[in-house]
Symmetry: C2
Subunit: 202 residues, 2 copies
């Protein structure tokens, strides 16, 4: 529900009004179609105030989803070292997020994505605009293959999080993170950078 | 809510009363601790009637979860051919379940497992009693390694289902099944039967 009464900087409701307007705009028009200007108008505030509270449209979108981390950071971290270690670094960074102070927000987001079509739709936008577009550049992937490679890797990590942190299936829920890095890192590496016969033409 | 009024075979409420009593018993005492006799008493029926409606305790448990398939069948199918093709066969059988007439039941079960602690608890029992115990024998796995191997493989498949059938992330949601068999089969194979350095002592 967007409230349109006049607001001033510092009004504690302003941030929430912007978020509410942004949720509506992103859901209705998608990430690319929603403009800061329209979101500001929906919240009854000046566009400069949206930038003041949230910075970029990317950051505003992450805030509407209560995203536990900025995927840009995770991609930059995983893409920064040796190429043959991308898989292990991704698994380690991903587990670090779930084991960190924002882990409960991640659990809440996963429950919401699975439980409600609205969040699922927002999450698809999130995957496309915040993860896939960046992965091509950040991980130096072939643009023709990047989307399937990244979603294969991401779906594996999502299943790991589902089993370990949401459903808590043993022994997966209790083994040390580095055991999972050793187990799953090579699979993620293969999805991102190795030959996949039968998936892509050689 | 268990209703304890007298029932006769053929009463359309009898089946539901047994299921309701079974859900309570399995949640409270676990699969091993819940007896057909106690479930029958809870439903106010003769134990023979429980067997008449549901067969074994295994089948009754699957019915309480509205399980889309009997995992015994999937494990038997995947374990039946060449050992080096277990991964591909598992992925194929798993996708076949989601693409089949029971696919919507599978989506409903996944939403429920993620959304409610009660179902999550039941699902953990399901993994332990219906999948892990059978996998050791059906797939000829080392009992000391089987639980982690099978939960790694299962978590990967769960993530695939989450992305493809529940959240519907593209391009994963639209690629042909056999593309996914080629992509994911080798990872599942590795979890089940190959060396996993850093995970198990050599």
């Amino acid at each position: 529900m967007v409230r349109r009464t006049g607001r001033r900087p510092g009004n504690p409701d302003t941030r929430e009004a912007i978020l509410s307007a942004a949720r509506g705009a992103f859901a209705e028009k998608g990430f690319d179609g929603a403009s800061i200007r329209a979101i500001a108008a929906g919240a009854g505030v000046d566009p400069a105030l949206v930038h003041h509270y949230f910075g970029t449209k990317d950051k505003l979108f992450l805030a509407t989803m209560n995203a536990p981390v900025d995927p840009t950071d995770v991609i930059a971290e995983a893409g920064a070292g040796e190429r043959h270690e991308i898989g292990e670094r991704f698994v380690r960074a991903f587990l670090g997020m779930w084991d960190g102070p924002r882990g409960s927000a991640a659990v809440a987001l996963m429950r919401s994505v699975v439980g409600t079509e609205w969040t699922a739709k927002m999450f698809r936008e999130f995957i496309i605009t915040q993860i896939l577009r960046r992965a091509v550049a950040g991980l130096d992937l072939d643009p023709a293959e990047a989307d399937l490679r990244v979603t294969l890797a991401a779906s594996h990590l999502a299943g790991l999080a589902l089993a370990r942190y949401v459903v808590k299936v043993e022994p997966l829920a209790s083994v040390p993170s580095e055991t999972l890095v050793a187990a799953i890192g090579p699979a993620v590496q293969r999805y991102l950078t190795e030959e996949l016969p039968g998936v892509f033409a050689a």
